[in-house]
């Protein structure tokens, strides 16, 4: 039946034991894609959703019209942030493996997505991340100690033990709280952007979801409302090829790019090399300029690869080749930016090693500091009665009673 069936079942290009195969990925050479003005007509920029905007070539040189021309101190800061994110991930992943935290999600291989995108936005712009955007929190000066404290659910946790690890937040610096439910932040970002427009403020909003999450209703709601009201928002799809065990084809990526998803609503889409910090920066900047000048929403697809497991609860060797990441044609974003700086003469392998070491040490110091606020096994602990707070602004009677009941039971 399967042979002559009209039911098409998407199959991953390679499964465990097979040779990685990225022939399905359409690539453009660095510098090859034009950079149209932000006020171009839709039909004149549709190519951006098929081609792949790239700046860094194989020799790590910046090419073409999308080169944002960033100075080396900015680029070095970007590199530092990417290294910091990776070191943070590495430590936290290991802490989970040692049972110090209950859960963790790495962004290995996707660091340029958050750092490149975040850097191109203003501090007043509001970010609505997904759980693999820890880079955005770090970029927006969320203290590592605080982020770690959150993962420890300790007395310094900014959400007071209410959430699982990695569901960060930073209200002060305009990064939203993360939800366990995929894609819910997407229409919220559109609403936030609409409010900015209603209030006449020039801040914009940006949000991120994974390739798999585009199938959710909230993706559609966000695109529809953004298109109808021309909301000043950037909608990012991080296509890291996988959604837990299903490859991007199961989310509908076999026939057309994710960047193309908004075309039918008149939302321009840009497909960008997500492992090329310069390209990510440039494309985000372009979209931000559109939004800020009243041009409305842009959908950006960031083509990247999930270098690690989905989460610490996952074992990817069950569903994809072990060496797939190594075969990914867009490489390692960190390696590429470093190469660029080295080839430009502003950085060296030695400096890099030293910086890596420094970040590693910094992360370790932060971890030590974070644990002074409590761990899962050692105090200080959050006080159990805090569990009843913030359900409502003011605690209603039934929660006061339940709180009292618990305190009595716990002998507090």
């Amino acid at each position: 039946m399967s042979q002559k069936s009209r039911l098409h079942i998407p199959h991953a290009a390679a499964r465990p034991g097979e040779t990685p195969d990225f022939s399905y990925l359409a690539l453009s050479p660095a510098g090859a894609v034009a950079r149209p003005p932000v006020d171009s007509r839709m039909s004149d920029i549709e190519f951006l959703s098929n081609d792949l905007v790239r700046v860094l070539d194989e020799n790590h040189a910046a090419q073409g019209p999308w080169n944002p021309g960033l100075d080396s101190s900015t680029l070095l800061e970007a590199l530092r942030l990417m290294v910091l994110v990776r070191q943070y991930d590495d430590r936290m992943q290991r802490m989970q493996r040692q049972g110090k935290i209950t859960f963790y999600v790495q962004s290995l291989g996707e660091e340029a997505v958050s750092i490149g995108g975040g850097l191109a936005l203003r501090d007043s712009d509001m970010l609505f991340p997904a759980y693999r955007n820890q880079g955005l929190y770090i970029l927006r000066n969320t203290g590592l100690v605080e982020m770690m404290s959150h993962c420890l659910s300790n007395t310094n946790d900014f959400c007071r033990g209410r959430q699982m690890p990695v569901f960060y937040q930073n209200a002060k610096n305009r990064v939203f709280t993360i939800s366990g439910n995929l894609a819910t932040q997407y229409p919220q970002a559109v609403g936030w952007a609409m409010a900015a427009a209603i209030k006449g403020e020039d801040a914009i909003a940006a949000s991120w979801v994974g390739d798999g999450s585009t199938a959710e209703a909230d993706f559609h709601y966000a695109l529809t409302f953004a298109a109808v009201y021309q909301a000043p928002v950037i909608l990012n799809v991080v296509n890291n090829q996988w959604a837990i065990s299903t490859f991007q084809g199961v989310a509908g990526g076999e026939r057309r790019s994710f960047a193309a998803r908004g075309l039918g609503l008149g939302i321009p889409g840009v497909r960008v090399d997500g492992n090329d910090l310069l390209a990510v920066y440039a494309v985000t900047q372009w979209a931000a300029e559109r939004a800020r000048s009243g041009g409305g929403p842009t959908l950006i697809e960031l083509v990247t690869y999930r270098g690690g497991a989905h989460s610490t609860s996952d074992d990817p060797t069950r569903y994809r080749p072990k060496d797939e990441w190594a075969a990914f044609p867009l490489g390692d974003p960190l390696h590429r930016l470093k190469g660029h700086l080295v080839q430009a003469g502003s950085w060296s392998d030695e400096q890099h090693l030293a910086m890596e070491e420094q970040m590693k040490q910094y992360v370790l110091d932060c971890w030590k500091k974070a644990t002074t606020f409590g761990t899962m096994t050692e105090g200080p602990f959050l006080r159990v009665h805090e569990m009843f707070e913030d359900v409502f602004e003011h605690m209603p009677q039934h929660l006061q009673r339940q709180q009292a009941q618990l305190l009595e039971l716990e002998g507090i």
Partner: protein
Amino acid sequence: MAQMTMIQAINSALDIMLDIDPSVVILGEDVGYFGGVFRCTEGLQKKYGDHRVIDAPIAEGGIIGTAIGLGVNGLRPVAEIQFADYIYPGFDQVVSELARLRYRSDGTFYSPVTIRTPCGGGIRGGQTHSQSPEAIFTHISGLITVMPSNPFDAKGLLVSAIESNDPVIFFEPKRIYNGPFDGDPNNPSVPWSSHPLGEVPEAYYNVPLGKAALVETGHELTIISYGTIVHVAQAAAKLAGVSADIIDVRTLMPLDIDTIRQSVSKTGRCLVAHEATRFCGYGAELVATVQEECFWSLEAPIERVTGWDTPYPHAFEWQYFPGQKRLLAGIRKVMEAK
């Protein structure tokens, strides 16, 4: 004071809040140019502009999702869902986001959204224009759930809902939009102008959330209800000739337990009534609460009178609706039990 229908009272509340608070915005299907299919937002877009009273795409989840974002960015959104039966496509944004934002962020993020939605049957709407899904929302921690039974409360409670920094699901029993309803469809329809609670101040006032109203005072029986059924209960109690405390819960969550306890401790008998389906409905919680709070005062089993555990059938609207006959039978049962 003016005579207002419930629709006018709701319109008045929205008008006043749009006026005094520039952060209030309204969005929903057909609420803008047209003024809403039940006319609750009539004239408001004209008066406050198309940036404050906004026609939305037909996407309940999108309306609630964007409303949350509007609220996080400092506005105070009032979203209309055209019928309560159509709130389900937005259920995830309500449950997982709106209700949880404050908690999960330790109070640093919240969104003061009010969701208004007409509920209940009695207008020949069949199964998809008649539902009363309030119980589902009262079970979700983090939501305030309200259902007024008259124009005065509707305006005052809606003002409080909009002012509340907590999300409020505001159910409007559409059967009594234009007049109270005693549960007998054969009786001539009565306008709100003939009801004391159809007298509504034109100016600002509020009715606090979380407080029940004792709409009748008696000593033999406590009837606990809300929405349309409050009026049916009043008629049925009269018919039965029983002296009853009739409690209009008004705010379903948080529940005003004190008012209930005081009454049932006094009367020793209790009947709980609503239009929604029975199994695991809000009445179950009322019964559970009463038996927990007043067990030793109870002289008879608490009686529940509700809609049947079926969808609301078009052909049998009045056999489905818990009208006077059913209330009366319930009252007799609880009064005669011993």
